[in-house]
């Protein structure tokens, strides 16, 4: 074992040997300045302010396959760049260098004498004279072939992910639309309006609503919320829509319709993954507008609808509560009938609205039932359109405090 470094100590050697190794070391260092410049593991380039190459090291000449005479005093740095790089250099780097005196970490490609392209990372600094006037630009250049390949792969993956995300969003949006009626049908003597707020563009929500004719003078309506989100919720929503519509065609009594839905969902609940929903089903029998209309309603675990009265008051409709739909095989539902007079509007909604975060001073709190009732009282009397527009404006104001999807369906009796 022998000492190779200055100051290294080897027991048993005398001081003369140490001196000799120091000398050898200094000789190595003194010899290396020029050699370090020429054969450094990076390219060195000095250019005049107009861009002409004043000095270049052997390493860089080797990379570029040029001789010194072909470049020094003859070509400028931007001549070595691809046209894209040249544009970038002129529009970004050159101004930055003038303003800051240095730029770093720039990704460029150099054109070699034999037509190859060499990806490099470039740092440049302006050398000034004692008076602060710029004299020349010093540039170090690092081979970045491996790094660039890696970056390209990252970039490609990023772009791929963006495209996939876009595709997913389109798919989600299409699927969501397929679960909602494209437009509400016209019901004589009534105005109807609906709004669906999508909380996430990346996931299909589990809220649903519909309004559809059962016969010449009777209409079915429903609104509800499936537990969960995404593709699973979408398949359940689809099942619910068709079950409700089919059930209503056989027996339109709301409690009976929800009972049929419960049976269908409970089968799935046992078979796979505990899917259930909350919903309100309504049977609407319009009369002439002077007489208003009647709505028979049944609820399965769903928040009560609001009634905005023609006299300017608003309250939640007291419905006989029913259980969550799909959880129990012996679930019982009850129908209650309410009367809508001219100027009254019934507003059904899902709990994404009342459960929206509305932080108080302590940073806690939900928007809540009472705030919604107070808003309804302010609105009343209101047409279905007005009520739904106000709710959608509220959702817009709440912004990302609305964490879940929200469905709103309003039915108003014309005055």
């Amino acid at each position: 074992m022998s000492s190779t470094g200055r100051g290294g100590e080897t027991p048993g050697q005398d001081s003369g040997a140490d001196d000799a190794s120091d000398e050898l070391f200094s000789a190595l260092l003194e010899d290396s300045t020029e050699d370090l410049y020429e054969n450094a593991p990076c390219g060195y380039l000095s250019t005049l302010l107009d861009g002409r190459i004043a000095r270049i090291n052997k390493t860089l000449l080797g990379w570029l396959a040029y001789s010194r005479d072909e470049l020094v005093g003859v070509r400028s740095f931007s001549d070595l760049l691809t046209i894209g790089g040249k544009l970038y250099y002129e529009t970004h780097l050159s101004p930055l260098l003038r303003m800051q005196g240095e730029v770093g970490g720039l990704a460029l490609e150099l054109k070699t004498a034999d037509g190859r392209r060499l990806p490099v990372l470039v740092n440049s600094a302006v050398k000034t004279d004692s008076g602060g006037q710029p004299m020349l630009i010093r540039t170090t250049i690092f081979d970045a072939r491996d790094r660039r390949a890696y970056e390209r792969e990252l970039l490609r993956s990023g772009q791929e992910a963006d495209r996939e995300r876009q595709r997913l969003r389109e798919l989600v949006s299409t699927l969501q639309q397929s679960l909602l009626p494209p437009a509400l049908p016209a019901v004589p003597g009534l105005d109807a309006a609906a709004y669906y707020h999508i909380a996430s563009a990346d996931e299909v929500g589990g809220d649903f609503y519909d309004l559809f004719p059962l016969s010449r003078d009777r209409w079915g309506l429903f609104l509800g919320d499936v537990c969960g989100k995404g593709a699973h919720a979408a398949t359940i929503t689809s099942l619910i829509r068709y079950t409700l519509r089919t059930a209503a065609a056989y027996d339109a009594d709301p409690a009976a319709v929800l009972g049929t839905l419960n049976a269908a969902l409970h089968e799935r609940y046992l078979a796979d993954n505990r899917c259930f929903c909350t919903a309100i089903f309504g049977l609407l029998t319009p009369r002439t507008s002077a007489e208003g209309c009647t709505v028979a309603l049944a609820s399965g675990g769903h928040p009560s609808p609001l009634l905005l009265r023609a006299d300017g008051t608003a309250h939640y409709v007291a419905l006989p509560g029913g259980p969550l739909i799909g959880v129990w095989d012996d679930a019982e539902f009850a129908t209650a009938t309410i009367r809508l007079d001219p100027g009254d509007t019934l507003l059904l909604f899902t709990d994404g609205l009342t459960e929206a975060r509305a932080p108080d001073a302590a940073g806690r709190g939900r928007y809540g039932d009472e705030a919604l009732r107070a808003l309804a009282a302010e609105l009343a009397p209101a047409t279905a359109d007005t009520a739904v527009a106000a709710i959608s404006a509220l959702l817009h104001d709440l912004g990302d405090q609305v964490e879940d999807d929200v469905a709103v369906l309003a039915l108003g009796v014309a005055t």
Partner: protein, 271 residues
């Protein structure tokens, strides 16, 4: 002489003499109003200088950035005219560098009475070669530029964008960046690059009724001498001055000569 940071969509800064003629300085693709920092203070001694950043660059309000809208130079010209309207600027001397030269041309065609003079620094009405016209670039060259943008923004966008964009109330965070001038949102830079280098405003030149000075750099790869000559030949009331300056940004590489040329044309009486 007080600087008034009007801010807003285009981060407008008014400096110089309130009672003097308005000179509006518009930078081109790749930077922001910092481009004028070597000559704006001197211009402020003779003019009421209005500086701004295009939407998508500098300290503009990114909430106004829209990739569809800013596909057209006309939208940038809209912004210029909107600034003029909002500040009630009259008899404006418009100095447009690089692509902003053509924005000035478009704005002056739409509201000729708003502008008293145009000064176009390194203008090009079309960057891509065409039959009988040499702009200096091919369509493939422009794709290569977009590649260059992508590779240079790769690290920047992910690591730095949140720092800059997410803390508008703490600009000092952005100052820690190595390249703290000329910052541009990467997506906006891509769109602006396309808008810039795919533009063709050759047919607009003949419609300019405002006296115009063309400042041409002696050695400029972005806007070569023959492009400057083309603008002079097709823009009715124009004259051309060649500056002994290398590169595309004479206001930085030859600030004295650029300042002298701008001042002498701007202060000269009559067209």
């Amino acid at each position: 002489m007080v600087d008034v940071r009007v801010g807003g969509r285009n981060n407008v800064l008014i400096t110089g003499r309130d009672d003097e003629q308005v000179m509006m300085l518009a930078n081109g693709f790749g930077c922001d109003q910092n481009m004028w920092r070597l000559i704006a203070p001197a211009l402020a001694e003779d003019f009421r200088v209005v500086l701004f950043d295009h939407v998508g660059s500098g300290h503009s309000d990114m909430s106004f950035w829209d990739p569809e809208r800013y596909q057209a130079l006309d939208s940038y010209a809209d912004d210029i005219l909107r600034i003029c309207h909002e500040l009630d600027l009259q008899e404006v001397i418009f100095v447009g560098h690089s692509v902003s030269a053509m924005m000035g041309v478009l704005a002056a065609i739409r509201e000729p009475d708003r502008f008293s003079k145009l000064i176009l620094v390194g203008p090009s009405p079309r960057y891509i070669d065409d039959a009988g016209y040499r702009g200096g670039f091919s369509a493939a060259d422009i794709d290569e530029l977009l590649d260059s943008l992508d590779s240079n923004y790769l690290g920047w966008s992910a690591a730095m964008a949140p720092v800059i964009m997410g803390n508008p109330d703490r600009p000092e965070l952005g100052e820690e960046l190595t390249n703290s001038f000329c910052r541009t949102d990467p997506q906006a830079a891509r769109v602006f690059a396309r808008t810039t280098f795919l533009s063709d405003n050759r047919s607009d030149l003949a419609m300019v009724a405002v006296p115009t000075l063309i400042l041409q750099c002696s050695s400029d790869v972005i806007a070569p001498a023959e492009v400057g000559d083309y603008v002079r030949d097709h823009l009715p009331a124009s004259s051309l001055v060649t500056l002994a300056a290398t590169g595309h940004c004479p206001q930085l590489s030859a600030p004295e000569a650029t300042l002298a040329a701008i001042r002498s044309f701007a202060l000269a009486g009559g067209p």
